[in-house]
């Protein structure tokens, strides 16, 4: 089969939101608030026009199929009788003829058929018209850097990898990728279980507007609206790899939910994971140097886990090295820790030397959490709202006021901060010890061994 631009677009729609059952096809458009008729009726009308005026003729003239729309929790494009032509194309491209596309589709063969710029552009347009989010809240730090985000659920790493490769081939290097992996969604909390929040491939809007396109006029108008917030065109080109902080060894890194080739592997950055999957990511000139010093970017323990004391007790009970650890209360001068902030944030505290211990910034975040959770002020779930230092400083002698006690472990495992109601665990950092746990199996493949209490550093 030779694909063309129209087929490329329609297949992009299918890969983005398609579900095929027997002869019927649905394409789910997860537009949420953006496409909510009550919130934005004008746009809602525009989406209906896009489907009736643009998509229906396109499906008809390409595959001899009529489509219609329905609105429930999401917008849906449906067809009750998919044509033999479409089925034949899907089979020839190795695409499934039954099931939910973005979960099961392997698009390698389809991608190799997208052999021209326009075909690639139209396939991406199909994806962006379904799973591309243009909420103005997608931005890099400020609204001066607007982002368009391709969002996927579930665990189809191959699909996301193919989309990234395609974007790069169109000079739309992603500004950031959020992989559906514990190292990405829970980089500092080893015990956070709800990390399966999906994939986000975030591209600078200016880059996408230069090389990509839309068929939905409503999407195009939103993109133009968002781009007007920027005073000038901004690009991801020439962005340097920058790694902030360490990632902890997450308890789900070997989860059977992950594809077999990712299980047990640790990733310190989204480009690291992309490179492991074989993506030729152009913004990674200094990754090699970073990986040579892998121990400086990891922690085999949780870096910061917060919660009610009962939750932390449960974690200590089930984690062998924490259960065996003996904790001794220490006195902390909170004022001096806060006074030197932010200069002191990367300082290591309560270790045996200058180069080991517990990260000052995380100790302060743990204390701040216990204060906020106990007072019920400035907290949402386990997240302290606003600046955590300000949250500590606004109280006179907060350690005494909130009965906070800090317990140092007898071996380098985790520091425990608690007042009996709420608690936080802070992981021990020691690059030499970290290095002893690392096994490098390939250029980008790293495995971190689980620490044993007996081999942890005596403090």
């Amino acid at each position: 089969m030779t694909t063309n631009t129209d087929k490329a677009y329609l297949l992009g729609l299918l890969v983005g939101g398609g579900i095929i059952h027997g002869r019927s096809m649905q394409i789910v458009l997860p537009y949420k608030n953006w496409g909510d008729l009550k919130i934005n009726p004008t746009r809602g009308g525009g989406i209906a026009q896009d489907i009736v005026k643009r998509l229906d003729p396109l499906w008809n003239s390409t595959y001899g199929m009529s489509v219609y729309y329905s609105i429930a929790s999401d917008w849906k494009i449906s067809s009750d009788n998919i044509s033999d032509d479409l089925r034949a194309d899907l089979k020839e491209l190795g695409l499934p003829v039954e099931g939910e596309y973005r979960t099961i589709a392997n698009i390698d063969k389809l991608i190799s058929n997208l052999d021209t710029y326009e075909k690639k552009k139209y396939f991406l347009a199909g994806l962006i018209d379904t799973v591309g989010s243009l909420a103005p809240s997608h931005r890099r730090f400020t609204e001066q850097f607007q982002i368009v985000s391709f969002e996927f659920k579930d665990r189809n790493f191959d699909l996301v990898k193919s989309v990234i490769n395609l974007l790069i081939s169109l000079s739309c290097t992603p500004d950031q990728v959020l992989w559906n992996h514990p190292n990405q969604h829970s980089s500092i909390d080893r015990y956070y279980k709800n990390w399966k929040k999906g994939f986000k491939v975030r591209v600078a809007l200016s880059d996408y507007l230069l090389s990509g396109g839309f068929v939905f006029e409503t999407k195009q108008l939103s993109a133009v609206e968002n781009s007007k917030m920027q005073l000038k065109s901004v690009t991801t080109k020439n962005k340097q790899l920058s790694i902030w902080g360490r990632t902890c060894l997450h308890s789900d890194e070997s989860s059977l939910w992950l594809p077999p080739y990712l299980r047990g592997r640790h990733f310190i950055h989204y480009i690291h994971l992309a490179k492991f999957l074989g993506v030729d990511f152009p913004l990674a000139s200094n990754l090699k140097e970073v990986l040579e010093n892998f121990e400086k970017y990891i922690c085999p323990f949780t870096l910061l886990t917060k919660g009610e004391k009962s939750r932390i007790d449960e974690i200590i009970k089930t984690e062998e090295y924490l259960r065996k650890t003996k904790y001794k209360e220490i006195t902390v001068n909170i004022n001096s820790l806060c006074a030197n902030y932010p200069r002191s944030q990367s300082r290591l505290l309560f270790g045996i030397g200058q180069y080991d211990g517990f990260l000052c910034s995380l100790v302060l975040q743990g204390i701040s959490y216990v204060i906020a959770a106990t007072s019920g002020e400035g907290i949402m779930g386990r997240r302290v709202l606003g600046n955590y230092i300000d949250n500590i400083k606004k109280h006179q002698n907060p350690i005494r006021k909130f009965s906070i006690k800090i317990f140092r472990p007898d071996r380098g495992t985790c520091l425990l901060i608690t007042n009996g109601s709420y608690a936080a665990l802070i992981g021990y950092v020691n690059d030499k010890f970290n290095k002893s746990l690392i096994k490098r199996e390939s250029e980008f493949g790293f495995i971190i061994k689980e620490p044993k209490y007996e081999s942890c550093i005596l403090l």
Partner: protein, 192 residues
């Protein structure tokens, strides 16, 4: 939002998009050259050749013989192996819904220039209801067989919309040329 652009303000973007779309949809694009032209076709072709375009003999002769026709946008596709070429004529309209007048004008251009393919394009607007009924009632209205020296020259017409916001062609499902890939297929068959 007030649209202050005139019809001819869209010629450049339409010509650019067409050249790219047609070239990228050609199955064996390596043997073809695709060029866009705006305005009078005879001098347009001669200027192209004078500026160094290595046209085949058939095209060179055609550029000398074709009548002066003021076309909005036309796309030249030349098969460099065989020397065969097609010029696809795009008649652009803006402001009013497409109707019989515009179709008649385009058919006239195709007949006079002896070119097989023509596409009627409305910018940001569709076709009138009456025109749509006429086209759908008689599908052969956009297929014209003309006998020239005992040879049948078939003209086929398309009716499309240029969306100036998304920079895409949209389809009306009313004419012989259904969509851009269909047009490209017809060009390739003709130039085999």
């Amino acid at each position: 939002m007030i649209d202050e652009l005139k019809e001819r303000d869209h010629y450049d973007e339409i010509a650019k998009a067409l050249a790219s779309l047609i070239f990228d949809n050609l199955e064996k694009s390596g043997k073809y050259v695709v060029k866009s032209l705006i305005g009078e076709i005879s001098s347009g072709l001669r200027t192209l050749i004078a500026n160094g375009y290595d046209a085949g003999e058939v095209l060179k002769n055609y550029s000398k013989s074709v009548h002066r026709l003021f076309l909005d946008v036309s796309i030249l596709v030349e098969n460099k192996n065989s020397g065969k070429f097609e010029i696809i004529i795009f008649e652009i309209k803006k402001g009013n819904k497409l109707g019989l007048n515009a179709l008649a004008q385009l058919i006239g251009y195709c007949l006079v220039s002896k070119q097989k393919f023509g596409v009627l394009v409305n910018v940001d607007d569709g076709i009138s209801e009456n025109f749509s009924i006429i086209l759908q009632a008689d599908p052969n209205l956009t297929i014209i067989d003309r006998l020239i020296d005992d040879t049948v020259l078939r003209h086929e017409i398309g009716v499309m919309v240029w969306n100036s916001h998304t920079k895409n062609f949209e389809y009306t499902q009313t004419a012989a040329i259904k969509n851009i890939p269909d047009l490209v297929k017809k060009i390739e068959t003709s130039l085999e």
